[in-house]
C-alpha cells in the first residue's frame, strides 16, 4: 500500500465517521479488599451526524457516569480503565486538557438537569453566553453579543435584547433551561448531550423544551444524545434507543422497531411500568428470588421473568440480531416466542 492510498482511506473514514464513537468504555471504582466495582462495562455507542440517540436507564445504571466520562470528569475516584473514544474519527481521552483536539462546549456540549445550578448567579445571562462565544469562537464583544441575542431568540425567549441583562434568579425554570440550551448550542457543537435536562420541568414546559431541542438539532446537523430515565421521551424524540442496565448496554434498536417488539426482558420491564394491567406487570416483575449468595452471570438474572439456569452460569454477550439491533440476552423475546 502506498502512502497516497493510506491518506485517501483515512479521509474517507473521517467523512463517514460517527460524530461520537465509544468503544468498550469501562469505568471501575477500586474497593478496599475486594474486586473493583465496575460501573460501566464495555459500553459501545455510535452517534451519527444529525441523529438523536436516546439512552435510557434507571438510577444507578451509569447514565450520568457515561456523560462524565465523555466530558473527562469522572466523579469520586473512578478510573477509566479501558476503551476508546473518538469524536469525528479523532481519538480523545481527557477533555479538559487544552491540547485535546476535542473541547467541551465547543465540540461536545452538555445540558444538565438543574439549569439554575448551572448558571453563574453573579453574571447576567447575556454575559455568560458572550463569554462562551468569545472564548471558543474568538469574536469581538460586539459580535459575540449579537450572536448571543440571536441564540436567545432561537430558543424562543421573548424580548431577547432586554433578557440579555437579566440575572439567572429572575428566570423561571423553563426559561433558565432555554438559556442553558442557548449556551450549549451557541458555538455550533457537533454533539449535544442532554443529561435528564427536562426531568425537573413541568410537562407543558418539558414539551416546549424538547421540541426546541429537536428543531435546533434538525436545523444544524448537530447530533444529540438524550439521556433519560423516562422511556416515553425517547419514543417521540429519538431515532435510536439504547437501554443501559447496571453499566451494560442490554439492548440497542431503531426506535419504531424497539417499541413494537422490545427484545430484552429488561426493556419490557421498563415499558411495563407505564402499562395499566397490574396482572401483566406482575407477571414480568414478580420473579422468584435466586438462592442466597448466588451471583448470576447475567446482571439482570435476579429480576428476569424469562430466567433459565444458563443465565446464572454464563454471561450473555451483546450480539447482533440484524436490522441495526443488538441485544444482550440468551433468551430474547423475538418473533414467534
Amino acid at each position: 500500500m502506498t502512502y497516497q492510498d493510506k491518506t485517501d482511506t483515512t479521509e474517507a473514514q473521517a467523512v463517514a465517521a460517527p460524530v461520537l464513537e465509544l468503544e468498550g468504555i469501562t469505568v471501575a471504582y477500586p474497593r478496599y479488599g475486594e474486586s473493583d466495582h465496575v460501573a460501566l462495562d464495555a459500553v459501545d455507542l455510535k452517534i451519527r451526524r444529525g441523529e438523536i440517540v436516546g439512552l435510557v436507564g434507571e438510577t444507578g445504571a451509569g447514565k450520568t457516569l457515561l456523560t462524565r466520562t465523555v466530558m473527562g470528569a469522572i466523579p469520586g475516584g473512578g478510573e477509566h480503565t479501558s476503551g476508546a473514544m473518538r469524536y469525528n474519527g479523532t481519538p480523545f481521552t481527557d477533555l479538559p486538557d487544552d491540547k485535546s483536539p476535542v473541547r467541551p462546549a465547543k465540540d461536545i456540549a452538555l445540558i444538565v438537569s438543574n439549569p439554575r445550578r448551572e448558571l453563574n448567579p453573579v453574571l447576567t445571562v447575556g454575559q455568560q453566553i458572550v463569554n462562551v462565544i468569545r472564548h471558543h469562537l474568538g469574536l469581538s464583544e460586539k459580535e459575540a453579543r449579537a450572536r448571543a441575542v440571536d441564540m436567545l431568540r432561537a430558543v424562543a425567549i421573548p424580548d431577547p435584547e432586554s433578557r440579555m441583562d437579566a440575572w439567572p434568579h429572575e428566570l423561571s425554570g423553563g426559561m433558565a433551561q432555554r438559556v442553558v440550551i442557548a449556551i450549549a448550542l451557541s458555538c455550533d457543537p457537533g454533539l449535544v448531550i442532554s443529561d435528564d435536562a427536562t426531568s425537573a420541568l413541568d410537562v407543558t414546559v418539558q414539551l416546549q423544551v424538547l421540541n426546541l431541542m429537536k428543531e435546533m438539532v434538525a436545523g444544524s446537523e448537530t447530533a444529540a444524545l438524550i439521556i433519560t430515565r423516562d422511556i416515553a421521551i425517547t419514543a417521540h424524540y429519538c431515532d435510536r434507543v439504547v437501554i443501559l442496565y447496571k453499566g451494560e448496554v442490554v439492548e440497542e434498536a431503531p426506535r419504531d422497531a424497539f417499541f413494537d417488539r422490545p427484545h430484552h426482558p429488561y426493556s419490557i420491564n421498563l415499558l411495563a411500568a407505564f402499562a395499566h394491567s397490574p396482572a401483566l406487570r406482575e407477571a414480568w416483575w414478580d420473579v422468584p428470588p435466586l438462592a442466597d449468595g448466588t451471583r448470576p452471570a447475567c446482571r439482570f438474572a435476579d429480576r428476569c421473568a424469562r430466567r433459565q439456569p444458563r443465565c446464572v452460569s454464563e454471561a450473555p454477550a451483546l450480539r447482533d440480531c440484524g436490522a441495526g439491533r443488538r441485544v444482550r440476552c440468551h433468551y430474547p423475546v423475538e418473533a414467534g416466542t
Partner: protein, 347 residues
C-alpha cells in the same frame, strides 16, 4: 358519604419586606367521599401542595373552611386532637427526607401508634399486619433508611401512613422522585391497600399518566383556582377546560404512534402568583380567550352531571365522537407488547 369537604379555601402568603401577597389559593372547593381516590393535578405553582398541607393542618388557611367527617377543622379540632389523631395521614414526596436516618424504618413506622396510646404488643402485631400488606419482610424493615432503595423507602412511608388505619391519606407527589418501575410498584400498592382498608386518598401529582388509572375523580388546578373537577374517565375522555386539554396533550406516552395532539398547545409558562389580575388566571395563555375572561373568574358550569368547569367557552371543546382517550389506546397497545414472550409459568 362525604368525608372531607374543602370550602372556598383561600391562602395568601405575605412577602417579607413588601405589601405584596403570593396568592397561592383563591377559593378552592371540592369534596372527597369515603374510600375514594381524589386527585389534584396541575403544574408547579398551581397550589396543589398548599391544599394538601392545609388539609392536614400544616399551614393555616387565610379564609374558608375544611370540614372533616361532618365537623369543621379549627385550632381546637385539628389533626393533633385526640378525636382526629391518626385519622388523617400524610406521605411526603422525598422518601429519604421523611425518615430519621438513625433509626430503623420499622421504628418510624410504629411511631404514630405511640401517640394513639397503643401498648407494645398491639403495636408489634399491627406492624406485622402492615408489613404483610405492603409486602416488606421484617428483616428489611429493621434496616436503616440509607440501606433501602427509594422505592422500598416510599413503600415504608405508605406503611407508616396506613398503620393507624386512617380515613384519609394525603399523598403529596409520592411517586415523582422515583424511577418509573418503582413508581408503578407504589401505585399498585396504593390500589391494593385501598381495596383492603377502604381508605380515601387525596393524591397530589403532576404526573397525569399515573393519575389516570389510580383515581376516581380528578380536580385540575391552575394558579390557586379549580379549573375543572369530575369523574376521571369523563375528564380524560372529554376535558372541557382549555387548560385540562393542554395539560393532557403535553403528556408523552411511550409509543411512537401516540403523538401528542396539536390541540390547545399551551404556550409560555405559568405566571407569577404575585398580584394576580382579576378574571380567569389562564387568560394570558388561553387560545380561546375573550375580553369577558379578563374581567372576572368564570362561574362554575356543569356540562354533564358531576362534571364542573370554570370556563365560558367549555361548549367549544365538546367532543362527542371520541370513544377512547390516548391513555386507553396506549394500554391496549402495551398489553399486546407485554403479552409477547410472557414467561410460561404465568401465561
Amino acid at each position: 358519604m362525604t368525608l372531607l369537604s374543602v370550602q372556598d379555601l383561600v391562602k395568601h402568603f405575605p412577602v417579607s419586606g413588601s405589601s405584596k401577597l403570593v396568592k397561592a389559593l383563591n377559593g378552592v372547593t371540592f369534596e372527597i367521599e369515603r374510600g375514594e381516590t381524589f386527585s389534584l393535578v396541575g403544574e408547579s405553582g398551581s397550589g396543589k401542595t398548599t391544599v394538601g398541607r392545609a388539609v392536614v393542618g400544616l399551614i393555616e388557611a387565610t379564609s374558608g373552611a375544611i370540614v372533616f367527617d361532618g365537623k369543621p377543622m379549627s385550632w381546637k379540632r385539628n389533626i393533633r386532637s385526640p378525636e382526629l389523631r391518626g385519622r388523617i395521614q400524610f406521605v411526603f414526596q422525598e422518601p429519604g427526607e421523611s425518615f430519621n436516618p438513625r433509626e430503623p424504618v420499622a421504628a418510624a413506622m410504629i411511631e404514630p401508634l405511640k401517640y394513639l396510646g397503643m401498648n407494645r404488643s398491639d403495636r408489634d402485631r399491627r406492624l406485622a399486619e402492615v408489613l404483610e400488606l405492603i409486602r416488606m419482610p421484617m428483616a428489611t424493615a429493621m434496616k436503616l433508611p440509607d440501606d433501602l432503595s427509594p422505592g422500598m423507602l416510599q413503600r415504608a412511608a405508605v406503611g407508616r401512613a396506613i398503620i393507624t388505619r386512617p380515613d384519609l391519606v394525603v399523598l403529596d407527589e409520592p411517586t415523582s422522585a422515583l424511577d418509573p418501575t418503582a413508581r408503578a410498584e407504589i401505585v399498585d400498592l396504593l390500589i391494593s391497600v385501598q381495596k383492603k382498608m377502604e381508605t380515601a386518598y387525596l393524591f397530589i401529582s403532576h404526573d397525569l399518566s399515573t393519575v389516570r388509572f389510580l383515581t376516581d375523580r380528578i380536580c385540575v388546578m391552575y394558579l390557586g383556582s379549580v379549573m375543572e373537577t369530575g369523574p376521571a374517565e369523563k375528564v380524560f375522555l372529554d376535558p372541557r377546560h382549555p387548560y385540562s386539554v393542554g395539560l393532557m396533550a403535553s403528556v408523552l406516552l411511550p409509543h411512537p404512534s401516540l403523538k401528542t395532539p396539536e390541540r390547545m398547545k399551551l404556550e409560555g409558562e405559568i405566571p407569577s402568583p404575585l398580584d394576580l389580575p382579576p378574571g380567569c388566571p389562564l387568560a394570558s395563555r388561553c387560545p380561546l380567550v375573550e375580553p369577558a375572561c379578563r374581567e372576572r373568574m368564570p362561574l362554575p358550569e356543569y356540562p354533564q352531571p358531576k362534571h364542573l368547569v370554570h370556563c365560558i367557552n367549555h361548549h367549544k371543546l365538546e367532543r362527542a365522537d371520541v370513544v377512547s382517550d390516548r391513555f386507553e389506546t396506549f394500554h391496549t397497545l402495551s398489553d399486546r407488547i407485554l403479552r409477547q414472550g410472557l414467561p410460561e409459568r404465568v401465561a
